[in-house]
């Protein structure tokens, strides 16, 4: 045979598609992990902000008695 069959061409072309697909999947996996990690850090930050907010409330209530 002097020419490739369509099936043969299809195998070769799909290899490229599969490589792209695998790498897209890696990106997706990275993004999912990044999301979890970021949520963890945001929770820590939110916790610190909450603590500071409560301290400010406490100090504000304390100083209010001085003015009264």
């Amino acid at each position: 045979m002097s020419t490739k069959t369509n099936i043969q061409k299809d195998w070769e072309q799909r290899e490229f598609i599969e490589d792209m697909s695998i790498n897209i999947q890696k990106i997706v996996e990275f993004l999912n992990k990044f999301e979890l990690s970021t949520r963890n850090k945001l929770s820590d930050l939110n916790e610190k902000l909450t603590i500071l907010d409560r301290q400010v409330d406490y100090l504000e209530a304390t100083f209010k008695t001085v003015q009264e």
């Binding site: 043969q8 299809d10 799909r14 695998i22 997706v28 990690s37 301290q55």
Partner: protein, 1336 residues
């Protein structure tokens, strides 16, 4: 060779993607929930639906057209299944026409019509769909029948095609069962028909609609109408009884060979088998299932016996035996007897197989994780590094994981079906609706635990496999490609060669099929089929090695389907192949069947582990005619609540696996059932469940740490004894595994991220506040004896707070305490605790307690003269807020009970520790203010009145009267005071209050001294004070702080670092440290002046007495020196009161004064006398002392009981008074006495004094003569008369001026101050000597 720029860029992109895998992530949370990725990606697209079949030339390509249509029918059928299953009745919410004459009935009917018409249209579409589906199915059966080969008695049908027929049959079976279940369909249709019937009179051209409605009515009203229609149509087809057995047999083959992965696939096969048998059987001898040669009843019976109950859809299940029994020719002998429940339960109930399941879980987890680690290690070594495992092993391990997950999920769903089929009908259980009997009361505690653990295993294994998908996918695809090409290019090629050689002119159909199989799947190395060398007779044939290109490219879905079909078709012609060839086909076929699941690993895992059926309950909602059930009957919440209420600490880490079921449920509601209202219901229920979870979990966490703190703080030997005696192991810290759970910060529920740690921290903050408020409220509702309990509780809460702080970021304890104690103010020192202490000291302690000098304790007086004290109500008992649990509460209650019946040093120590020195001035000031108020407002008027009521003369009687005479003398004189009505409730009561307050201050001072000494001992090394250097300390001008080790060492360090700036980077901090060290030394260094709180209090008390000093010091003495006969000074009144106190009781049942008022009375009286400067006069002229002296001097002691009691009381009080005076003199010397001449007067005043003294001397002489006269009268009357006459006749001459003035009394000696009461050595009491009588 030039580099292609495009390829270079692609390679660069791929390289960057690889770098992403090594990106470091910091997430310190363990995974305790199923994985819910935010972004999903499915690389293997199955939705093409065979559109690329034109590229593959096979004889089965046309069959794919039918499969495509059936695929569309199946999708449409799924939507109808969902519609019928989730159908909720509309007619309940619609108004009804109650009377024919109702005015607005036209409007009601029109409104009902508008509402119901869309719903009825759905039902009509449903009816037409099932009709069309039955026709389609029968058409396919006819086509298959037309392929019947009479000679070979075979029918040509591919395995995949029959699979589609199986699915169509399952669809029809489910639709029929759902329609039977939904009674509301008929109800809504009746409503609709009534409305249209009324409106038909006003419309025209509705005949067709009427006919359609009638058809729909028959369709909905008749049970099993779909099955009946299908059966009727099938029996019109010739040879259908040869085709349907193929379906049953293929189902049996699949079940026996376990050719399924999804649980739904397994259950589909089980449902279709009895359905098809029912379709075949008919009431004539021609269609008897027992006589059909293609059917093997015993084989089917074995399968049914193993799986008697099968999930149908949602919360519906079917019993296979009941289906088969509907067949007309059902023969019990062939099918066997009914399966015993106990035997089936062993297979269906998870609890019986949990142990082996856990072993398999542990084994497979280790195996899978090891495989993943090895692959990662090999990949890290190099991209082209060979894998340590064979790639086929990787595929086998992964497939095994899928099978394990499938088996476990099937077990969960089958147990659910089993429970649905066997409700708990125990009459003792009061269930509101049937759903409670199949869910809430149908799972024992052990079964719930087993179910939770199995769900956790399923979800955790699924998470692990899904996380590894990116790593495994290239390997799996490469392996699949390799296996496929090996089969085609090696095995199949050899088989083709063999056939061509052996059968050159025969079996062309087989050769054609094999050629087609090769053509549609082969992937030649370098793109072309290698030229086959023509065998030469002379030359030796050289065997060529087959080369296969290494690609990670799987076959397309259509390609794979056709390959499987062709292989299956070839395998049907088993006799035409050799055993080796057939074995190759069989091996490849069994492997290739599972390729579709491995190629889309994520979606396969998600489908396998879908447990949403555990929540859906539309069948029971319909059965019980309810909109929704409460969360107490929802299985996910039942399991979650079981975890929270369980004592098994290992379950707590599985807390979010049952809640993860809501994720599955919501996913199905949105993507599969397409019902928004269901999602809203799920969301609402999950919100409720999560609130309950937070409430219970935070309570559980707090209880745990509270119990731990109580256990730590409990006295160790005491705890040991208690555990030996009563509480065996109950007082230890309970086991728990909160570490993993309390670190979770991004739990995913319904796509939302929840910071569990933050939410729990909020609740812990509130709980600590509530606990502190509870403790303080209890203290506010009790008397001062509960101060010890309060201190114990606060220490407990403080330790609980410390333990919780290791897991949560909660407010500082000081902030919480100040907030609850209402002591956050900067300008005032208040607080609930200190205010209550002051309240109790002033309102209850001082008035109602009696002090005992020997025991140094105050106890409640047996009788109180004050009104009942009104306190806050005791808060409701909360065992957790006390000390964690009832056992620890009992232990602590016993310990605290020791301090309940008295107030003493331990209580004052508690006050000092709780209040601290910060609020002490407030307490002291308030108590002193109370003293001042009592003296000025109560005592001053009463003392004035009593002084006025005193007898005119209180001169001490002479010894000659004897004890009895003297006692009677004072009794007669003081009787009016004794019967004074306000004496006890007001006068003595107030004196007692003063005394108790002063004693309290004394004890407080002692406790403060102890605390200061303790702190000093701890701080001494830092201050540079040691036993060797303490004595050598001399007052010097140099500041001792500069020599202290703390300050000097830090200063040296600071100086050293200042000289080397390259080392020190924060010199300012060092300076701050030095300054703070200086301040600390100043703070902790003891003052040179020994501070005493009691001394200050006494000085303050003395200044308070200045208000009444003038009045209570009495009038100036008439003789210019001292009042002897009558006195208006306070000490004389106190002598009278003291005599009354010692007065014997007339009634034995009465309480004595001492019992009623305690030693506080003496403290009050002695303090007042002391600070008025009247101590010595009091001791000289006291009535009781006089009686004691007379008794001591008497020749014969009195033997009367009343006098003896008096003597005892008087002696006790005298001892107490001496002790009190000693203490008072030690702390604070009295002020200079008034009404006394301290120095010789001047000359002019001396002459005036001489005149006064002369008058006084005459008076004294007269008194002496009178005494002598009385004595003589007692002996002889004649002598007395003679002496009297002699004295009156000759007055004495005046004394010379130089000896007339009395010498001034010696100055009061300065008492040495002592630093502590412990160093005090009281002087010996004066001897009870009798003053000598004046000379005769």
């Amino acid at each position: 060779m030039s580099v292609d720029p495009k390829q270079s860029k692609i390679a660069d992109v791929f390289e960057r993607c690889d770098v992403l895998e090594s990106f470091p992530f910091h997430d310190d949370q363990s995974e305790i929930e199923e994985q819910s990725p935010s972004i999903g990606y499915d690389a293997y697209d199955k939705s093409l639906n065979y559109t690329d079949r034109g590229a593959y030339e096979t004889q089965w390509s046309e069959e794919t057209i039918g499969m495509e249509k059936m695929e569309e029918v199946l999708k449409q059928g799924d939507s109808f299944i969902n519609m019928v299953y989730t159908y909720r009745s509309c007619s309940k919410a619609l108004p009804t026409v109650k009377t024919a004459e109702q005015v607005n009935k036209t409007q009601i009917y029109e409104g009902n019509f508008e509402v119901l018409e869309p719903e009825i249209k759905k039902l009509k579409d449903f009816m037409y769909f099932q009709k069309d589906t039955i026709k389609l199915f029968c058409d396919h059966i006819k086509k298959l029948a037309s392929t019947y080969d009479k000679k070979k008695e075979t029918i040509s049908a591919s395995e995949s095609f029959i699979n589609y027929l199986v699915r169509i049959l399952d669809l029809l079976a489910i639709l029929d069962a759902l329609k039977n279940m939904k009674a509301c369909l008929n109800n809504d249709f009746s409503f609709f028909k009534r409305a249209t019937g009324f409106l038909r009179k006003q419309m025209s051209g509705t005949e067709d609609q009427t006919q359609e409605n009638h058809t729909l009515y028959l369709f909905l009203a008749n049970q099993n109408s779909i099955t009946s229609s299908l059966k009727l149509e099938l029996h019109n087809i010739d040879k259908f009884d040869d085709i349907l057995p193929m379906i049953v047999n293929q189902c049996a083959d699949y079940l026996e060979q376990e050719k399924y992965i999804l649980p739904s696939e397994k259950h589909c096969l089980l449902r279709v088998m009895p359905f098809v048998l029912f379709l075949i059987d008919e009431n004539d001898s021609k269609h008897n299932i027992n006589k059909n040669k293609n059917l093997n009843i015993s084989r089917y019976a074995k399968i049914f016996k193993k799986n008697p109950v099968v999930p149908l859809y949602g919360d519906m299940q079917i019993t296979l035996e009941s289906l088969v029994k509907r067949s007309p020719h059902f023969d019990e002998k062939a099918w066997g007897t009914s399966t015993l429940d106990s035997k089936s339960a062993l297979d269906y109930e998870i609890i019986h197989v949990l142990d082996q399941t856990r072993s398999l879980y542990n084994e497979y987890m280790a195996r899978f994780a090891n495989m993943v680690n090895e692959i990662r290690a090999a990949k890290a070594r190099g991209p082209k590094e060979p894998l340590p495992l064979a790639e086929s092993d990787i595929q086998a391990i992964t497939l095994m994981g899928l099978r394990i997950l499938s088996d476990w999920t099937s077990r969960v769903l089958q147990q659910s079906a089993w429970k649905y089929s066997k409700p708990n009908n125990d009459p003792t259980i009061s269930a509101t609706f049937d759903y409670e009997r199949v869910v809430k009361f149908n799972y024992t505690k052990e079964e719930r635990t087993a179910l939770v653990q199995l769900i956790a295993m399923i979800k955790s294994l699924a998470s692990l496999m899904m996380k590894s998908e990116t790593l495994l996918q290239p390997i799996l695809r490469k392996t699949i490609h390799q296996e496929l090409q090996e089969f085609v290019q090696i095995n199949l090629k050899e088989t083709i060669k063999s056939f061509v050689k052996n059968n050159p002119k025969k079996k062309d159909n087989i050769k054609l099929e094999m050629s087609q199989l090769k053509n549609i799947s082969v992937d030649w190395f370098s793109g072309f089929e290698p030229a086959e060398a023509v065998p030469n007779k002379k030359s030796k044939e050289v065997e060529e090695k087959v080369q296969i290109p290494a690609r990670a490219v799987p076959p397309s879905p259509t390609q794979l389907e056709l390959i499987l079909t062709l292989v299956s078709s070839l395998m049907d012609k088993k006799k035409d192949f050799s055993s080796d060839q057939y074995r190759d086909f069989e091996a490849f076929s069994s492997k290739a069947f599972f390729y579709r699941y491995l190629l889309s690993l994520s979606s396969s895992i998600i489908s396998i582990t879908d447990l949403a059926d555990l929540w859906y309950r539309e069948f029971y909602l319909e059965l019980n005619n309810r909109v929704q059930f409460p969360i107490e009957t929802s299985l996910p919440w039942i399991l979650t609540d079981h975890i929270l209420e369980s004592d098994d600490p290992s379950l707590i880490e599985h807390l979010f696996y049952p809640l993860g079921l809501y994720n599955d449920t919501a996913q199905r509601a949105l993507l599969s059932l397409n019902q928004r209202f269901l999602y809203d219901e799920i969301e609402a229920e999950l919100n409720l469940c999560f609130d309950q979870l937070l409430y219970k979990l935070s309570g559980k966490v707090y209880t745990h740490f509270k119990t731990q703190a109580s256990s730590i703080l409990l006295d160790k030997p005491y705890k040991t004894q208690l555990e030996l005696a009563h509480f065996n192991g109950k007082l230890h810290t309970p086991k728990s595994r909160f570490d993993v759970l309390l670190r979770q910060k991004h739990i995913t529920l319904l796509g939302r991220s929840i910071d569990l740690c933050g939410l729990l921290a909020q609740r812990q903050n509130n709980t600590i506040r509530q606990n502190l408020d509870y403790a303080i409220s209890r203290f506010e509702a009790c008397d001062l004896t509960s101060i010890v309990e309060l201190e114990t509780q606060i220490a407990n809460i403080k330790l609980t707070h410390k333990l919780l702080s290791e897991y949560f970021d909660i407010d500082p304890f000081e902030s919480i305490f100040n907030e609850i104690n209402e002591s956050t103010s900067l300008v005032s020192y208040h607080g609930r605790i200190v205010l209550h202490i002051i309240f109790e000291l002033v309102a209850d302690f001082a008035p109602n307690y009696t002090f005992n000098s020997i025991t140094q304790r105050f106890i409640k007086a047996p009788y109180t003269f004050t009104e009942e004290l009104k306190r806050d109500a005791l808060p409701k008992t909360n065992p957790v807020f006390l000390f964690g649990n009832k056992y620890l509460n009992a232990a602590y209650a016993n310990s605290i009970e020791l301090y309940k019946n008295f107030i003493g040093v331990p209580h004052i120590q508690s006050i000092l520790r709780i209040v601290g020195k910060k609020n002490l001035p407030l307490i002291v000031a308030e108590v002193l203010r109370n003293i001042e108020i009592k003296i000025t407002n109560v005592l001053s008027p009463y003392v004035s009145e009593l002084l006025q009521g005193m007898p005119a003369s209180t001169k001490l009687p002479i010894y000659d009267y004897g004890t009895e005479g003297g006692y009677g003398y004072f009794q007669l004189k003081l009787k009016d005071i004794y019967i004074y009505p306000d004496l006890r409730p007001e006068v003595l009561q107030t004196f007692r209050e003063l005394g108790n307050s002063l004693v309290f201050m004394n004890l407080l001072d002692q406790v403060i001294t102890q605390t200061d000494s303790y702190n000093f001992a701890k701080a001494a090394p830092f201050l540079g004070i040691t036993p060797e250097t303490w004595k050598d300390l001399e007052p010097s001008t140099e500041d001792p702080t500069l020599q202290s080790p703390l300050y000097s060492q830090l200063q040296k360090l600071a100086q050293l670092l200042e000289s080397r700036p390259e080392v020190a980077k924060s010199s300012q901090s060092l300076n701050d440290m030095v300054a703070n060290a200086w301040r600390a030394d100043k703070f902790y260094r003891p003052s040179e002046q020994n501070f005493s709180l009691f001394k200050s209090v006494l000085q303050r008390f003395s200044s308070i007495l200045n208000i009444v000093r003038h009045d209570w010091s009495g009038a100036p003495p008439d003789n210019g020196v001292i009042c002897v006969d009558s006195s208006t000074e306070f000490y004389r009144l106190w002598s009278a009161l003291q005599f009354v106190i010692c007065w014997p009781l007339s009634n034995e049942n009465d309480k004595s004064f001492h019992e009623l008022f305690g030693d506080g009375l003496m403290w009050a009286g002695c303090s007042l006398i002391h600070f008025l400067g009247q101590q010595y006069r009091f001791e000289l002229f006291d009535f009781c002392y006089h009686i004691l002296n007379v008794e001591e001097a008497a020749a014969v002691r009195s033997d009367k009981p009343a006098l003896k009691n008096f003597f005892k009381n008087a002696q006790i009080i005298k001892d107490i008074n001496n002790q009190i005076f000693s203490i008072l003199n030690t702390y604070c010397p009295p002020p200079p006495p008034s009404n006394m001449i301290l120095s010789p007067p001047a000359t002019e005043q001396a002459e005036q004094f001489i005149v006064t003294t002369t008058v006084e001397e005459q008076s004294i002489q007269q008194q002496q003569q009178q005494q002598q006269q009385q004595q003589l009268q007692q002996s002889t009357s004649n002598s007395g008369s003679s002496l009297s006459l002699s004295a009156a006749g000759a007055p004495p001459p005046p004394p010379p001026p130089s000896t007339n003035g009395l010498p001034p009394p010696p100055p009061m000696a300065e008492y040495e101050m002592s630093s502590s009461i412990d160093d005090f050595a009281p002087p010996p009491p004066p001897p009870f000597g009798m003053p000598p009588p004046p000379p005769m």
